[in-house]
Amino acid sequence: MNEQYTTAAPLLQINDLCKRYPNMGNYMSVFHMNLTIPRGRIIGLLGPNGCGKTTLIKMINGLLAPTSGAVYINGLFPGAESKRVISYLPERTYLENGMKVRQMIDYFADFYEDFSKEKAYSMLESLGISPEARLKTLSKGTKEKVQLILVMSRNAELYILDEPIAGVDPAARDYILRTIITNYNPNSTIILSTHLISDIESVLDDVIFMKNGSLMLYTSVDAIRSQQNKSVDAYFREVYAC
């Protein structure tokens, strides 16, 4: 189905990307980023608050226009084709409060041809969420779980998860991380931004450190551990010490 896109072009390429918001003077939220992301990786996008993670993610998803530079997904600009291959979890929920979970699943299945209802229902069951519940009756954390289930039930090439585990309890966090591991396939990549580094560290292949809108470091977790003799979490605390 996607053969035409799986050419030599990398899954995600970012060339000299900059973003300056209006009314922010000369401040660049993303400053000359260059990045090439291959398939088959699980990557943590890390950095302190306000370092440009979400701005970067929004530009990859075509929700913000770059000030300069470009984003390519499978060699193409963000657009309808890239939305077909990217499954995106935004940092805030956009689900319709009056709808039932079951209706949301139908909605997603209508919208995305790669959506697996089967996967969605099995995850709902594991997390003990009723498909008949209306979203407005669910707690904040449960809503986040539903949204993550919807995003992970797609069979996408690139998953971009903006703060996927921040609001959920530790047991559900473990389940979600296990879901990410068991759904792993060598043809797709997961990028997730988070502050809960120690929770996800063992699940990651690589980490991207951002600082003031720039790429600071893009390396593997085990490279940090063997070179610094400390965890990514400890290294982060050192690099970004206030």
Binding site: G40, R41, I42, D174, L177, R178, I181, T182, Y184, S198, E201, S202, V203, L204, D205, V221, D222, R225, S226, N229, K230, S231, D233, A234
Partner: protein, 133 residues
């Protein structure tokens, strides 16, 4: 449950050691099949690529053999397994002595402590059970 991993060393190296322990103590017997990378990655809560890397190291050392398209088996070479076991015992002994010397014990004091510890039957049985660090 996720495997207990230290934060200061590469994850693949720690996984490699845990798999070696399982082979040495017969959880995965000589000639027996190993679970798939994916299965073990889920069990350990680690990235499948990391588990794959640990498996590759095991293959390179000869402890594990890949059967094309079928999976992986533990070597039937029990001498090799025994050698790995010896090697691990040496490592453990070294670190035990290093820790005890740090506490200020001389080697002869350490040995007498070990002897009195193992002669106490209650502790001796405990020592056998808890061979995990």
């Amino acid at each position: 449950m996720a495997w207990e991993l230290n934060s200061d060393r590469p994850i693949y190296a720690q996984i490699l050691e845990k798999l070696q322990v399982r082979i040495v103590c017969g959880v995965y017997p000589p000639g027996g099949w190993l679970p798939s990378v994916r299965e073990l990655a889920a069990e350990a809560s680690v990235n499948p690529n990391t588990m794959q890397r640990a498996f590759s190291e095991l293959e390179r050392s000869g402890l594990v053999i890949t059967q094309r398209n079928m999976g992986r088996v533990v070597t039937q070479d029990t001498q090799m397994i025994e050698a790995v076991k010896r090697q691990m015992a040496v490592t453990q002994t070294k670190s035990f002595f290093a820790n005890m010397r740090q506490l200020g014990f001389s080697d002869s004091e350490i040995i007498s402590l070990v002897n009195s510890y193992t002669s106490d039957t209650k502790h001796a049985s405990y020592a056998v059970v808890s061979n995990e660090e």
